[in-house]
Every structure is written in C-alpha cells, then in structure tokens.
Symmetry: C2
Subunit: 326 residues, 2 copies
C-alpha cells in the first residue's frame, strides 16, 4: 500500500473530473462535514459540479458551517463517475456496499483512520493526521486552489473538533502549522467555538446535575463513580446519547485515576470507564464482556444498578491495589 502514489493520482483524477460526488459518514461530526464542504468548495472553484451526501440528519450545532445547507440525505442520482469518500474507514460508514456503486465509477478514499480498509480504487490515508481536515487542506493546496475564508472556517472546525481542541495526542506540529495557515485566511475563533461548545441541550445540563448528585468516591480517592437511572433520563428529558462525555467530569477530579459512569438503559446497565494515567480499563471492561481502549472502555451488565455498581467497584478497587503493589 503506497499512499503517497495514490495521493498524486487522486489529485490528477479530481483535476480532470467534470463532476464529483462527495460522501461523509453516519453520525456526522465537525471533521467529516467541514472537510467535505471545504473540498467541495475548492472543486467548485476550479469548475467542477459537486454534490454532497451524508446518510444521517445533520446536527444543528454545525449549521454555521458555510455550505451546510447543500448536504443531502439522498444519494446523488445519477451517480457521477468520480466518488470521493471523506473520513470513512470503510463503505459501511456511509451505509453503502460496493454493489450500490456503478461498475464504471472511480472510488476515491480520503481518510486518517488507522483502521481504514483501503476500499477505494485510489486511497489517500494519512494515519498521522489528527483529522481528515489536515488531509483535505493538503489536497486543496495541491489542487492549486487558494484557501478562502469559508474553506478555512470548515477546515479549522474539522481539525479543531477531531484533535479535541489540539489536546488529543494525535495533535502534531503539522496540525498546528496547518491551523496557522487557516488562521491566516481569517477564522472567527469566538464564533466557531461558541457554535461547537456552547450549544448543549438544557436536558444534558440537567443530566449532568443528576450524575454529579450521585457521585461517589472510592479507593482512597482514586475511583470516582456516577450513576444515571431511567428516572434521571426521564426527569431531565435527556436521550441516552446525551450522557456521552459526562464521565469526564468524574475523571477531572484531583487524585482520580479511574472514573465510571453507569447508566440504566432498558433492562441493562451500561458502563463507561475512563482512566487518567496508567490503569488499563480495557482489561476491566473485558472481564464483563466489554472492551475498548486502555484509557476508555465500556461494558454492559444484565443486573440491577446496585449490583452492577458493586461488581465494577470491586473489580476496579482490586486492579488499583494490584497496580500499586507491582
């Protein structure tokens, strides 16, 4: 697999194509939408006819992105010959199979996920990039299109969201250099950050209050555990997915190595586990049939809340003890 060669062919194919259809993944985020819109605008600047597709309804907090309203939930019909997939590790990420793609189509695959399946006829996968936005910016520069303010806003949003405001360890010197180039073109930081971070549903804030009210500290302050009951979701008016990220509040407490959020979902208890410095929560989740990464994992319990809490607390306390003794 030689990504560098493919990138050259992708540039050439895009230069010659009269029409390009762009695709981005389910559960869309700032990176796939921002990158797709920036590339589309660049292609239009050099005379291409462009369509934008996403399988899911778009989140309202991204509505400020220039071009947002042009994204369709219907597949382009007829399909143009050149199809460019943005930020998708495989075709399943756009709810598609290869059989849905016309036989003479050329599939271009632009991504930054290390898990990418190289499903394209031509692939450009940079697993060192914090966001596909970095790859998109490089692509636009190599197309010879000058970055304008709208592209900069889209690409800044892409890079900033996927790098966690430049906090995640995927952030590199290159991430910052490319971001600097975008800021040169005019980016309204205040407005972007306001749109991305200050648009939390009220129900989510109420759910946070519920979670914090039930906060428990164990293992001499090294384990913080929060719970959300079905009633908590009902009373706050929050959907399940709004609990996403709340576990980080427990993780942010001084001295805490492991944070857990247990939530009641129908007859099950779903657990989100996070660790700060050393504990492998993937191993702990695996003991309950779950998994994930060393610092972030999840598992599901078929027992009532009290029992699930007891199980996970005991397992983590033991792991913390063993870790300390070794």
């Amino acid at each position: 697999m030689n990504n560098e060669n493919n990138s050259e062919e992708i540039i050439e194919i895009l230069r010659k194509a009269p029409k390009v259809a762009l695709f981005s993944h389910v559960s869309p985020d700032g990176d796939c939408i921002g990158s797709m819109l920036a590339i589309g605008r660049a292609l239009e600047k050099i005379g291409k006819e462009v369509s934008f597709y996403n399988p899911d309804p778009l989140p309202g907090y991204l509505a400020f992105l220039p071009g947002y309203s042009r994204i369709r939930q219907e597949l382009p019909c007829p399909q143009p010959k050149i199809l460019l997939f943005v930020d998708c590790s495989d075709l399943g990420r756009v709810n598609m199979t290869r059989s849905e793609i016309y036989g003479d189509s050329i599939v271009l695959n632009l991504d930054h996920h290390i898990s990418n399946l190289f499903f394209g006829d031509f692939n450009w996968v940079d697993a060192q990039a914090s966001a596909v936005g970095e790859v998109a910016l490089t692509l636009i520069k190599r197309l010879g299109v000058e970055i304008d303010g709208d592209m900069a806003t889209n690409l800044y949003t892409a890079i900033m969201t996927d790098s966690g405001c430049f906090e995640y360890s995927n952030t590199t010197a290159q991430t910052h250099r490319l971001t600097a180039d975008l800021l040169d073109k005019g980016v309204d930081l205040l407005s972007i950050h306001n749109n991305i971070f200050n648009q939390k549903p009220l129900a989510q804030i109420k759910l946070l209050a519920c979670a914090l009210n039930g906060l428990e500290i164990h293992a001499d302050g090294r384990l913080a555990i929060m719970t959300l009951s079905a009633e908590d979701f009902q009373e706050s008016g929050a959907e399940q997915e709004l609990s996403e990220g709340l576990v980080n509040h427990a993780r942010s407490i001084a001295g805490v190595e492991v944070a857990v959020l247990l939530k009641e979902v129908g007859p099950e208890i779903k657990g989100a586990l996070r660790s700060n410095l050393w504990l492998n929560v993937n191993e702990i989740a695996a003991r309950f049939g779950g998994g994930g990464h060393q610092r972030a994992a999840g598992c599901t319990f078929g027992t009532p809340m009290a029992e699930a809490k007891q199980c996970i607390t005991t397992a983590i306390e033991e792991a913390l003890r063993i870790g300390r003794d070794h």
Copy 2:
C-alpha cells in the same frame, strides 16, 4: 514607545549579565510560571546564574513543570543587577514598589498585556501575543539557545493555558506556528493536559452540583442563572475562588445569550455575568456599580440573594428585550 528597539537591548543585556533574577506575578498561572522557568533554563544554558521568584505559594497543579521546585517565595538577596519581570503589567503584580529595587539595578519588563505600564528600564511588550510564553520563546530563540524538551514543556503550558487551549480570540497564526516549533522538541500533550485540567478539587465538583441544582432559565431560554449560598460553600467544603468558571456551564446551554452566577460572600452577593454573542454585560454590571468587559463582567449586591436575583434578572430581561427590538 518603541518595543522593537527595547527587545534588542534586552537580548544584549541578558547576553552580558552574569546573574539574572526572574520575577513572576501574584496568583501565579501556567503562563507566568512556564515562561519564567523556560527563560531561566535558557539563561543557565549560556552560563548565567539565575534565581526565580514568585510572591505567592505555587498551585500544586503546576508541580509537573520542569524547574518548579526552584521557585522561591523570598526575594533574592543580595539583588543581582539584572531583574527580569515576566508577565507583569506593573510592579504591583509582584507586590513590589520601585523603592525596593536597588538604585543601580536594571529592570527588564517582558509582557503581553495591553495594560502594561512600561515600568522597566527596558520593555518588551507584545500585546498581540496570546501569552507571554510566545514572547519568551522568541526571546530564547534570539538568545541563540536551542529549545530543549523541558523548555518546550514549560512554554507549551504557558501558551496553551493563556490562549485557553487555542480557543480565545487572542490566538493567532503565530501562536500556532510557535506551538508547532515546541511540539517539534517533544511535548507530552496527554500528561500536560491531564495535569492542568484533571486536577479539580472534589469540593469544586460538589460546588458545581449545587450550582446546577439551582439552575433557572428565563427570557425564553436566553438567560440562565445559578446561585450559590453560604451553605453550598460550607457543605461542599469549597473556598470562594473555586466558583471561578462555573458560570460557563450555564453559558454553554443552547440558546442562552447571558449566564449569571450569584454567590453569597459574607453579607454580600457577588455576581458573575457572561454573554455569548452580543449582549454587553459590562453595561449591565455598571448599573449595579460593577464592570468588566462586554462578554464578561461582575457586580456586587448588598441585598439578600432573592432580591439580588430579582434585580439582575429584571435588568437582563429588559436588555434582551431592547436588543431584540432594535
């Protein structure tokens, strides 16, 4: 005032000095401490004798900064001839007056505050810099000292904290370019962000729970107001200053233009006001004898909580109404 000329003289003076005393400001933060430590290390690399001073006890969350333990709360005695003040807009920021400085001393003033009083014999104030860390990095480069990993960690922390993780509007293309140079030298992002952001006192999380439990929404969702009573502080075990920043949780709710946190401090109610996009909260605070900036201001009430809440709610509802009608 010609800052550029002064920067050259400051470089020359530092090159020639055998001893340099470094000073940083009260209520120390990542920017002043990180910048001071990086400059000190650079000066030592070119053979200078260096001392580090801060008038206040240092916050524990900065203990990971290389060189942290060398900072003293006692003024250097005897004073060396060259005194370099870092991140201080005036001598009051180090609890000093000019009379405490020996007559033949040379005062160097390195800062980025637009309010800087140019109190030094030589001044290098770059009000475009997001952090004095940017100025410190430029100074070290111009001294001809190569940035090492320890300096990079200190300077990255300085820039990252004062630019609000590159979110505040003081962040420029230059901020990102300098940060890229630091990442080239080796910076452990995970560890730094963990030290800075995941060290919240448990009492602060409990105080957040209190604030969220009392959250009220007014003005068709555009005003979010929270209160903290003396009992809330007592029961959570939190000091007054731990309420800092909690108002941002109210500000982050979708549709909210103004967020207010009222807290009981002795016989008074102190209000923190924040706006997201357009309302001038400085004007509102001024009506109650307070002030600040357009998007962040504060004021104090001599009345009980219920009355203060009524006053500020009415004033903001009116301002929101007028703003909408215009």
